[in-house]
C-alpha cells in the first residue's frame, strides 16, 4: 500500500511539474529564456514578445509546424547567468528541442552541457563567436553573424570598404563590461595591431549603465575618430543621451545591432543620425507580421503593445523564431518524423537554407538576406547593413557589407581550437552530418 501511495505521489508530482501540453506526445516543446523584468527588461521584452508571437501565430495559423503543435514556455532569467542555469535545469526534463539563452553569459555556461544533454543551443547573433565552427561546436548555432563578423563589418564600413582605411586612426570601444561586451575584444586588439589603429577601451560596468559620465569624459579627452558601441539594456539609451550631451558627432558613433527604437527616441532630436548594424527589416509591413497582428495580438493571445510591433528588437525576436521554426521543419524533413527531438533539431539547424524564395514563402519577403548553415558553418557569416535613425524611424544608410573573412576566419579558427584545448576532454565531433 505504501509503495502504491509513493507511486501515486510521484506520478502526481510529475504531472504537476510538466505542463499538460508538454506531456502530449504529439507536441514539440520549445522553451524561451526571456527577461521581461529587471534592469534589462527594456531590451528583453520586445524580443520575448517577437519570439512568442511568431510561434503562437504558427500554432494558430498552421496548427504548429508540420502539423505538430508547439508548446512554448517562457522562463524568466532577468539576464542573470545563475537564473539562466536554473531555467535550463527546469526545462531539461521536458525534452526541449533547443534552448534560446538570450544572454552571452548564459550561453557560455551552457556550451559544455549541450553535447552531454543533447540539447542544441540557438544563440542568434550573440554568444561565443567561435561557436560558429560546427566541427568543434556541433551543438551550438549562432546565425546569421557573429560579434566578430559585426565588428569587422563596422570597421570595414568606417574604413571606406576596408579595415585598412582606419590605419593611424583612433578607434574607441564603448562596451558593456560583461561576457557580451568583452567577446569582440580579442579580435579588436588583433586588428588594431595588424592594421595599425589606436584602440581605446571604455568599459561600462553593469552597475554604472546609467552613470556613464566619466566614460564620456574619457571619450572627450581621446577624441576617437570612430566610436563603436556594444551595449545592452539601460546602457544603450544612456550612452546615446550622453553622446548627445557631449555633442559627439553621430556620424562617428556606431553600434552593434542591439539598440532598439525606444533607446534612440529617448535621446530626442540630437540622436538623429545615430547608426547601428542590422540584418533584417523593421516595420510591420510583412504578411507574416500581419498574421501575428490578426491571429495573436488582436485575438488577445499576446500582451504585446501594438506600438512595439515592427520595432528593431520585436522583429529580431520574430527572426529568432523563424530560425527555431525552420530548424524544426528541416529536422522533420530530414528524419521523416513529425515529433522531433533535440538531436533531430540539431541536424535541422545544420541544414538551414533561407533564401529569398523561402523568406517569401514564409510571408517575409525582403525581410532579411540569405542564410545557409552547414555541418561546419553554424553561422553563415551573413552580410549586414548600416541603419540610421532619422528622428522617428530607422532608414537604411548603406548597402550590405559582409565580414572581413580573410582577417576574421583565421582568428576564429584559432579561438575555436584554443577553446577545445583549454577544456580538457572536449569531445571530437562524431555527430551525424547531412550535408557533407
Amino acid at each position: 500500500m505504501k509503495t502504491l501511495l509513493k507511486c501515486a505521489a510521484a506520478a502526481l508530482a510529475l504531472a504537476l511539474a510538466l505542463p499538460a501540453d508538454a506531456m502530449a506526445e504529439d507536441s514539440i516543446y520549445v522553451p524561451l529564456f526571456t527577461y521581461r523584468t529587471g534592469p534589462f527588461g527594456g531590451s528583453g521584452t520586445p524580443i520575448a514578445d517577437g519570439m512568442h508571437d511568431y510561434l503562437a501565430m504558427l500554432n494558430e495559423r498552421d496548427g504548429g509546424i508540420g502539423g505538430v503543435k508547439l508548446v512554448v514556455d517562457e522562463c524568466e532569467t532577468g539576464y542573470d547567468t545563475k537564473k539562466g542555469l536554473e531555467c535550463y535545469d527546469s526545462v531539461k526534463p521536458k525534452n526541449p528541442v533547443m534552448v534560446n539563452p538570450w544572454s552571452t553569459g548564459i550561453t557560455l555556461s551552457l556550451i559544455p552541457k549541450a553535447s552531454v544533454d543533447k540539447i542544441p543551443i540557438l544563440s542568434m547573433a550573440y554568444g561565443l563567436s567561435a561557436s560558429a565552427k560546427g566541427d568543434i561546436f556541433p551543438w551550438v548555432f549562432n546565425p546569421p553573424a557573429t560579434y566578430w563578423d559585426g565588428l569587422s563589418e563596422i570597421l570595414k564600413s568606417a574604413g571606406g570598404g576596408s579595415i585598412e582605411g582606419l590605419k593611424g586612426k583612433t578607434v574607441g570601444y564603448l562596451y558593456f563590461d560583461a561576457g557580451f561586451g568583452k567577446e569582440p575584444i580579442p579580435l579588436f586588439q588583433a586588428l588594431a595591431k595588424d592594421v595599425g589603429f589606436n584602440l581605446k577601451l571604455y568599459p561600462v560596468a553593469p552597475a554604472d549603465m546609467q552613470n556613464q559620465s566619466s566614460k564620456w569624459l574619457d571619450i572627450r579627452r581621446d577624441k576617437p575618430d570612430l566610436l563603436v558601441m556594444y551595449g545592452w539594456g539601460a546602457m544603450n539609451p544612456t550612452a546615446i543621451k550622453e553622446a548627445v550631451k557631449a555633442e559627439f558627432p553621430m556620424d562617428k558613433f556606431i553600434s552593434i545591432w542591439w539598440p532598439n527604437d525606444a533607446d534612440v527616441a529617448a535621446a530626442g532630436e540630437g540622436a538623429k543620425g545615430f547608426r547601428t548594424l542590422n540584418w533584417h527589416g523593421t516595420g510591420a509591413n510583412f504578411p507574416a507580421i500581419a498574421d501575428i497582428q490578426k491571429l495573436v495580438i488582436d485575438a488577445g493571445k499576446s500582451q504585446t503593445p501594438k506600438a512595439e510591433v515592427g520595432s528593431v528588437l520585436y522583429n529580431r525576436g520574430v527572426y529568432n523564431s523563424v530560425l527555431i521554426a525552420e530548424g524544426i521543419a528541416q529536422a522533420q524533413k530530414i528524419t521523416g518524423k513529425e515529433v522531433v527531438t533535440g538531436d533531430d533539431v540539431r541536424r535541422g539547424l545544420e541544414n538551414l537554407d533561407l533564401d529569398a524564395a523561402r523568406f517569401k514563402a514564409l510571408g517575409l519577403e525582403g525581410f532579411a538576406g540569405p542564410l545557409k548553415t552547414t555541418c561546419f558553418d553554424h553561422n553563415s557569416h551573413s552580410a549586414t547593413f548600416v541603419q540610421q535613425w532619422d528622428g522617428t524611424k530607422w532608414v537604411k544608410a548603406g548597402d550590405l557589407v559582409g565580414p572581413d573573412t580573410a582577417k576574421v576566419q583565421p582568428l576564429l579558427d584559432e579561438a575555436a581550437m584554443a577553446y577545445a584545448q583549454k577544456n580538457a576532454g572536449w569531445p571530437i565531433r562524431n555527430e551525424v552530418c547531412d550535408n557533407k
Partner: protein, 318 residues
C-alpha cells in the same frame, strides 16, 4: 619608474595641461555626488528615526519616478501626476508603518533589515505589474525642467554645464536646507530627533512613534521622488536605476548612517573622488574602476574613522 610616473606624475601633469577637463571632471563628480547624497539622505532619515537600514530606498526611487511617468502616460497632467506621486509615497509610508514596522516593533535589527528586503521585492513586482518592465522617459519638458547646456569657454577650453544638472544641484541643496530647518525648527522635527535619540524616552513624553515613522518614511519617499526625477532625466526611468542606489552605500560608510551633513559631504567626496579616479587613474587599470573605487575610498576613511565622517562614536564598555 614608469609605474611611479604613471601614478604620481602623469595624472597631475594632465590636470595642469588641460584644466578645462579637470573642471569638467570635478563638475560631473559634483553632480553625481549630489545625487548620491540625495539617495543616501533617504537612508539616513529612516535610520535616524527607526534604526532601520532601509534596503528599499533604491526601489522607492524607481517606484516614485515610475508612478510620476506612468500617471502622465495615462493622461494625467504632469503637475497633478507629481502631486499624486507625492500622495502615493505618503500612502506607501502609511502602509509600511501599519503592515511592516508596527508588527515588528522590538524585533532585532536584522529582522527589520530583512523586512525592507521584502518591501524591495514587493515594490519590484508591484511596479512591474502596474507599469510594465519597459523603460520610460522622464517628463522633463512637462515639469519645466531646463534642457540644454551652458558652455563656458574658460581655462583654455570648454566646460559644459548641463542645465538639468544645475537644476538638480539647486533643488538638492534646497531640499537639504529645508530638511535641516524642518528638523531644527519645527515641533515634528524636534520630536523626530527625540525619537532618534531614545525611543522609550520619546514615548514617555507622549511622542507617537507610529506617527513619526510615517512622517520619516514619507519624507524619504519625497526625497526618493526628487532623486528619481533627476536620475531618470539623465538616462531613463527603469528598474536598472535601482542599481545606482547602491552607490549610496559607500556614501553612508563614509558619512555615517546617522548624519544628514555626512550624507551630503560623503556624497560629494565619493562623487568627485570616483570621477577623478576613473578619469586620471582608471586607464592604468584598464578603465571601469569607478564601480569599486567608491568602496575603496570609503574603506580608507573607515580605517581612520570607523563611525564615518560625521557618525556618532559608539563606545561600549565591557
Amino acid at each position: 619608474m614608469d609605474l611611479f610616473h604613471a601614478i604620481f606624475v602623469d595624472p597631475f601633469a594632465q590636470m595642469i595641461s588641460a584644466p578645462d577637463l579637470l573642471a569638467q571632471t570635478v563638475w560631473e563628480g559634483f553632480v553625481a555626488g549630489i545625487l548620491y547624497a540625495l539617495i543616501a539622505l533617504g537612508f539616513v532619515l529612516i535610520y535616524k528615526a527607526s534604526g532601520v537600514f532601509n534596503f528599499a530606498q533604491g526601489i522607492m526611487m524607481v517606484f516614485a519616478a515610475l508612478t510620476l511617468v506612468g500617471l502622465n502616460e495615462k493622461g494625467v497632467p504632469a503637475w497633478i501626476a507629481l502631486a499624486l506621486s507625492v500622495a502615493v509615497m505618503y500612502g506607501l509610508a502609511v502602509a509600511i508603518e501599519r503592515l511592516v514596522l508596527r508588527p515588528l516593533v522590538n524585533q532585532p535589527d536584522i529582522i527589520l533589515l530583512m523586512a525592507t528586503l521584502g518591501i524591495t521585492y514587493f515594490l519590484i513586482g508591484f511596479g512591474e505589474l502596474v507599469f510594465g518592465g519597459s523603460p520610460k522617459s522622464m517628463i522633463t519638458k512637462q515639469l519645466y525642467l531646463p534642457e540644454g547646456a551652458i558652455n563656458l569657454h574658460v581655462l583654455g577650453g570648454q566646460v559644459q554645464l548641463q542645465k538639468l544638472d544645475i537644476a538638480a544641484a539647486v533643488i538638492a541643496m534646497l531640499m537639504v536646507a529645508g530638511l535641516a530647518l524642518f528638523f531644527q525648527k519645527t515641533r515634528i522635527g524636534r520630536a523626530l530627533r527625540a525619537v532618534a535619540d531614545d525611543h522609550q524616552a520619546a514615548l514617555s513624553v507622549g511622542i507617537s512613534l507610529n506617527q513619526i515613522w510615517v512622517i520619516v518614511w514619507f519624507t524619504a519617499g519625497v526625497v526618493a521622488l526628487a532623486t528619481g526625477i533627476f536620475w531618470g532625466a539623465r538616462s531613463d526611468v527603469s528598474f536598472a536605476l535601482q542599481v545606482v542606489s547602491l552607490k549610496a552605500l559607500p556614501v553612508l560608510i563614509l558619512g555615517g548612517l546617522t548624519s544628514v551633513p555626512g550624507a551630503i559631504v560623503g556624497g560629494l567626496i565619493i562623487g568627485i573622488g570616483e570621477k577623478l579616479g576613473e578619469f586620471y587613474w582608471g586607464p592604468l587599470l584598464g578603465g571601469g574602476i569607478e564601480s569599486w573605487l567608491a568602496y575603496m575610498i570609503a574603506l580608507v576613511f573607515l580605517l581612520f574613522r570607523p563611525q564615518g565622517l560625521f557618525g556618532e562614536k559608539i563606545i561600549e564598555r565591557i
